[in-house]
Symmetry: C2
Subunit: 230 residues, 2 copies
DNA sequence: CCTTTTATAGTCACTCTGACCATTGAAAGG
DNA sequence: CCTTTCAATGGTCAGAGTGACTATAAAAGG
């Protein structure tokens, strides 16, 4: 870096969170309704400013815990990209580091001091969001869909123990396409490290149909071969 | 975002550039030798602070043009990620948005006012870089290697018109592995939009061996099917 | 008991891939 | 001039992976 002999301007640095979950076969995103100007009354992504001794990762984890009540260990949190257009906030110059989070079982969100309301909203969101949050959310969704292909990320949407049907529902919900069940099963089980069978062969019953075998995340970060979209 | 009712600290915001090129079968990265403290005399990534009315993308394009003399249209420039650890700069709190750039034919770099020296250095760099630039550079290299698999990015390393041998050399150089020439050819030509044959069937002669047919970038951003690493 | 529903097993044709071998066309060297 | 060398190009072949599809198993609900 070349700070020397160059002036620099101070900026406000914030984090914005695109928090996704899958519930009842629908993809949902956590939004807050803004209580103050600008954009009062409109939906926006949760977020907040960095504190003096805090990295953007720390701030994102803190905001996630504050807004959802989910501990940072229980969910996937990943930097998306940084948005820095000069006019993106009408009040002042704000550079925002956006994060994508995936949570398995969504508790009811908490409205913070700054938000009139916090809620899980079905994707795609009907109305347009505050600031440039439409673009951030679209980028986040695209990233999640792409990462399902070549990483084991889909298990982050699932509880610790899940069935292959639940895992398939994650793919179908995020991608918005139906998948062939036997073929999905074959690919997942043929990919080393994607899922691991739960010992003792317990099965989930209670619903309709034949009881399903249970699996947990296999710990693999990259899928070989990848599970490509149709 | 939830600025309201929260204090916020001012930060300095900078961009750092990981500029790669392929020359003589070697992957090279553009580095500057720092002229001032901290880390005076050590290699670092080129970069600089955002100006008041400038986005990070604008600042990265400006720095790239200043340091390399390459016009922004002629090369690939893409945001990598943002580094914001509190102690990453000993002088003050600096949040840096890192960019990866790929340039085809490297002109001699210009030493800026802040750099004692600017040079193309072979990858991997022997000595450790200033600040957290080792981590940034490693992340950039990993990203470039991954993007070669599923995007047509490799053509960004090549001149406007190139041979399949040159394209293959890009893959081999970035990945550090040898590829089978007939198979590489088959896959590239079978991937729609990756490359387009130059009309009139001209061929490049002058070197050893049979003259090679010429191609230009096909304009495809995503490769279907992808060209996976061995 | 019979139907519905979901999980699981298996088949088959087609494509893609990696590992090869063969040929072509130019330059280099005697 | 002829031979060698070298890279580009064309082709083969077996095995893995995939999509489409059929069949069976095990539960719930009437």
């Amino acid at each position: 870096m070349s700070y020397d002999k160059h002036a620099f301007e101070p900026f406000a640095v914030a984090v914005d969170l695109a928090v996704f979950t899958v519930r009842d076969g629908a993809l949902r995103v956590l939004l807050i309704r803004r209580g103050e100007e600008p954009h009062a009354g409109r939906w926006a992504l949760p977020g907040g400013f960095l504190r003096p001794a805090e990295s953007a990762e720390d701030a994102a984890a803190r905001e996630l815990a504050e807004k959802t009540g989910v501990p940072p260990e229980g969910c996937h949190l990943e930097q998306l990209r940084t948005y820095s257009a000069p006019g993106r906030d009408p009040r002042m110059r704000v550079v925002s580091v956006a994060y994508t989070a995936l949570v398995p079982d969504p508790p009811e969100p908490r409205a913070g001091t700054d938000a009139a309301e916090a809620r899980w909203v079905d994707w795609p969101v009907g109305e347009s969001l505050a600031f440039d949050h439409d673009a951030i959310l679209a980028d986040a969704h695209e990233r999640v869909g792409a990462k399902l292909e070549y990483t084991g990320l889909a298990t982050a949407f699932c509880p610790p123990v899940f069935t292959l049907g639940e895992l398939q529902a994650v793919y179908e919900t995020v991608w918005g396409t139906a998948l062939d069940r036997p073929n999905f099963r074959r690919k997942v089980l043929a990919t080393p490290g994607f899922v691991a069978a739960v010992g003792g062969e317990p099965r989930r019953t209670g619903g309709r149909g034949k009881p399903a075998a249970l699996y947990r995340a296999g710990g693999a970060v990259a899928l070989h071969p990848p599970l490509l979209r149709p």
